[in-house]
């Protein structure tokens, strides 16, 4: 797209959208939101970038290699956090019994493993949205 208004407005909007998405992800356990909503916002900002600046520039920001790493890394992170609980407390995905830091209720650093899992879910959802979009526009008609 070669419209100067759209290009400039996109350039202004994208950092705010991504900061808002990350805010929603890391505040998921004390306020409405969480990994799914925040990840969808971050993924949508990357889709907007690809739509406005074209696939070539979008490939530089988020290549196939990055999407592969983020896709499998999200699940591996989730399973790793679960395995910590399995080794320490004897059950898969144990939260406070496995010795995750408790923190003060209402702070960002609270809830044991819940923020860690939310970050994993956010990475997974964001990379899934952008890589599905890339697959369809790359390999489509």
């Amino acid at each position: 797209m070669n419209d100067i208004i759209i290009k400039n407005i996109t350039r202004i909007i994208i950092p705010f959208a991504q900061a808002y998405g990350i805010f929603i992800i890391i505040n998921g356990h004390i306020s409405p939101g969480g990994g799914f909503a925040g990840g969808a916002i971050v993924g949508t900002s990357l889709i907007l970038y690809t739509l406005v600046f074209g696939r070539e520039k979008g490939k530089k920001k988020f290549s196939h290699k990055t999407s592969e790493i983020a896709e499998s890394g999200g699940i591996m992170w989730f399973v790793t956090v679960g395995l910590i609980g399995l080794f320490i407390a004897g059950r898969f995905l144990t939260n406070l019994d496995a010795g995750f830091p408790e923190g003060v209720i209402g702070d960002i650093l609270s809830g044991g493993m819940i923020p860690l899992l939310m970050i994993g879910i956010g990475i997974k959802v964001a990379s899934t949205m952008i890589s599905l979009f890339n697959l369809i526009i790359d390999e489509g008609i």
Partner: protein, 99 residues
């Protein structure tokens, strides 16, 4: 004629479903059947058991964390399936060049 018939059929289906809803034990209050013991347990002792003030996040990542793991696997599987359907193979490229 055919359109009128099909539309009236869907209106009849809608009326039947609404009639079924009127028989449901609804009522948006805490005495509804869906608001059972397990909900009260989550609401009363969820914060002390997980230390997260958002009960939905606590259920999503702690009580039902295995469910969420399956959910991420569904997302991963969808990406793999779409890739395997859409990615053009060597054979496809040869056929396209041949044409």
């Amino acid at each position: 004629m055919r359109k009128i018939l099909s539309n009236s059929l869907f209106i009849i289906l809608f009326i039947i479903l609404v009639y079924g809803i009127f028989q449901m034990p609804t009522g948006a209050n805490i005495n509804a059947p869906a608001y059972n013991d397990i909900v009260n347990h989550y609401l009363n002792s969820g914060v002390s058991e997980t230390n997260a003030s958002n009960i939905i996040a606590a259920i999503l990542a702690d009580y039902r964390g295995f469910d969420t793991l399956g959910e991420t696997i569904v997302l991963f599987t969808s990406v793999v399936a779409v890739g395997s359907v859409l990615r053009s193979t060597k054979y496809d490229k040869e056929v396209r060049d041949h044409e």
